[in-house]
Amino acid sequence: MRISRRILAGLATASLAVTATSCGGGGTSGSFDDTVTVGILHSLSGTMAISESTLVDTEKMAIEEINAAGGVTVGGKSYKIEYIVEDGASDWPTFAEKSKKLIDQDGVPVVFGGWTSASRKAMLPVYESKDAFLYYPIQYEAQECSNNIFYTGATPNQQSEPATDFMYKRSPAAGGDFFLVGSDYVFPRTSNTITKAQVKQLGGKVVGEDYLPLGNTEVAPIISKIKKALPEGGIIINTLNGDQNVAFFKQIQDAGITPSSGYYVMNYSIAEEEISTIGPEFLEGHYGAWNYMMSIDTPASKKFAASFKKRWGADRVVADPQESAYNMVYLWKQAVEDAGTFDDNAVREALVGQKFDAPQGPVEVMPNHHLSQTVRIGEINAEGGFTILEETGVVLPQAWNQKHPSSKGFACDWTDPSKGEKYKL
């Protein structure tokens, strides 16, 4: 078996880490032949820490589960997974810097990391130039397809498109006009461009659109615009981020923009974690769209939620981003075992086509490095969870959105050298 230099370096640091400070995870066990060290890179400080630390918890749990089940078996040898956690500090250049450190200094074969699109865009050139691997677990705006990144979150056609369809055709506000609200950065703007194109196709009307600068919580002008544009109620598509949702929902409720008066908000960034922060009393009756929801009534989903609560505390919740993070660790493990090596190119090839029985149901890695997933529409209930109303079959991911004017008619396929990142269909 060919062992790359990176692995050797990784092993060296891993053993060093174990003997020196044990910054790796889990208890020790004598039954492994060797160890392999992976990188975990999320924000543990700064504004994103609240969200991203839940992913670190989930990834640690997945690694512990794999180790407890005998680790990774590569070429007949069993490897215990160790991890090095680095802090991206909610600062995008730091993500790139720490990626370099993990790849060059620690020699990890894979990095699980990122949350915001800005952090991914900052890391992308690092992984491409070093031909290393990043697994990125968040639902995002797509319009990207790197040979060195695997995306396990939803693309817009796996979240916003089915959601818009539901709102226009089957929600209580069906046939109504749309108003789009978002935070002022790349995800909401791209997502709304797609939504606008889709609403036009459906024959509906977008009567207004507004973006709140990040950090701003003054919603009064937006409320007056919504009232002017939708005097009799209608559909609001919300892509606000983090805390801004709290300000938005508190203030629209006070202003009488509620489900009982005919206003229904579809949210793309509010999962169980956020519902408990905002307060279900402000969100009840509005909607969300995700691949995974904690209320999915299957043994796999229940087991996932139960093990997370057991590991990190009974009051913790699991949500879609965590499920994606959990899946990507398992998918990597399967691919490495199939490839029989930690070598990058072999793992990349082995990963496409990997299937996994995820908490959300079966997922499969597609040639465009994204996952096929199930989409669910849920209504937020008083208990702070989703009542699942609709469930699609498995939806294939579109790295290049087919409704966005700039990417219509393009696709991505890394298994065919003649196609690659962006080819015309």
């Binding site: 600068p213 701003n216 919580t217 002008p221 002017k228 805390d243 508190k250 203030q251 006070d254 202003a255």
Partner: protein, 384 residues
């Protein structure tokens, strides 16, 4: 008419949030000239005080009074932020009067410390610490003057600090054991829910107004009136104004400038706490909540004219009304068939982001012509 009323109300509502946040800074920065970058974090402490008060009022003994917790928390927030402000003045800012750059850096450091403090210390013990500070700082001042002048006063002071820390630890552990949400540190944002009587809307002359907004306007009005009366009618207010205008002369005439500084800074910080209560009604409460307001506060104070409360009031309402006029595209509804190029321009700026850009641009242009703001300080100031 209805449109005008709605627009005016929105403008006043946005303006009053700015005003209540900037009022404390108008005193600390405007009157004392201290560039306090930790002002936003003093607001944050006020917001967290509201949250803690809310949870404590959910305890069985206080449950019957739950609806009034928001009123209680206004006073508590004033005290909490005021005490922290006084400590800040006594330990750091006092040594840095007259050196604005160092003050700026030091207070920025303090703001980072305070943010990290609420992230990593359980709120129950944070409350205990504030109570210790309160007792430790104020108990010695209540001693009879005979003890104060005695040579052993430092021992009395020392023992009162011991008493204070014990009380603090005790309160901390009592709260921690009775309210589980306060017993663990968390960087997660928390939520203040207004009592039911403050939620929903009231109808005035055919237009519906959100009650929380009205409440914030009332809090702002009361704060402005109280602070104006204090500065203009009370003996301490007169001393503060005297020290502001001429420190050396006031010192020579027997005014304790040290005491005046503490009181001024304490009141300014306390008002930041009150502002914290107000903003907790609008959004979520988290370590970064203050940072969102600090730029706006400085903008209002500079635009109004440093050292002038009336200027701050007019500047806040001015910015508030402009934000609503531009951000909600009001001119279009007043004059629906204006020429196309003009209406396109207005539409372009009628988003929250662009309205902000526009307002900053207007302020910059305004300050080109009147660099000292709307109401510059009249008369001769003694240069430091």
């Amino acid at each position: 008419m209805e449109l005008l009323l709605d627009s005016l109300f929105n403008g006043v509502a946005i303006g009053s949030v700015l005003l209540v946040a900037a009022l404390g800074l108008a005193i600390v920065f405007g009157l004392m000239g201290v560039i306090n970058l930790a002002h936003g974090e003093l607001m944050m402490l006020g917001a967290y005080t509201t949250y803690v008060t809310q949870l404590i009022f959910k305890l069985p003994i206080l449950k019957p009074f739950y609806n009034s917790y928001i009123i209680v928390s206004i006073f508590l927030a004033f005290i909490v932020s005021g005490v922290v402000g006084i400590l800040l003045e006594k330990t750091i800012i006092r040594k840095l009067y007259g050196s604005p750059l160092e003050t700026l850096l030091a207070t920025w450091g303090v703001s980072l410390i305070l943010q990290q403090f609420v992230r990593s210390v359980p709120l129950a013990y944070g409350t205990g610490l504030v109570i210790s500070l309160l007792i430790g700082l104020f108990l010695p001042t209540t001693f009879p003057s005979k003890i104060k002048e005695s040579i052993n006063f430092k021992y009395f002071k020392f023992s009162s600090w011991i008493f204070a820390s014990l009380t603090g630890v005790l309160t901390g552990s009592v709260i921690s054991s009775s309210v589980s949400k306060l017993s663990r540190a968390s960087a997660r944002n928390v939520d203040v829910t207004a009592p039911s009587w403050m939620r929903g809307q009231v109808e005035i002359i055919g237009t519906a107004f959100p009650k929380t907004r009205l409440m914030i306007i009332v809090i702002t009005l009361i704060s402005v009136i109280a602070i104006t009366l204090f500065l203009n009618q009370s003996a301490w207010g007169m001393r503060i104004r005297a020290v502001t205008q001429n420190r050396q002369m006031s010192d020579c005439l027997g005014i304790s400038t040290e005491k005046v500084d503490i009181i001024t800074f304490g009141i300014g910080s306390g008002l930041a706490g009150v502002a914290g209560v107000a903003v907790s009604l609008l959004g979520s409460v988290g370590p970064n909540v203050g940072g969102n307001y600090i730029v706006g506060c400085f903008m209002v104070v500079v635009l109004g004219g440093v050292g002038n409360l009336l200027g701050t009031v007019l500047a806040s309402f001015g910015i508030g009304i402009m934000t609503d006029l531009i951000g909600a595209g009001r001119l279009l509804s007043i004059w629906p068939d204006m020429p196309l190029p003009l209406s396109n321009t207005i539409n372009f700026f009628a988003t929250t982001s662009m309205a902000r850009v526009m307002i900053f641009a207007l302020i910059v242009i305004f300050l080109q012509f009147k660099p000292t703001g709307l109401f510059p300080q009249k008369g001769r100031m003694v240069e430091n």
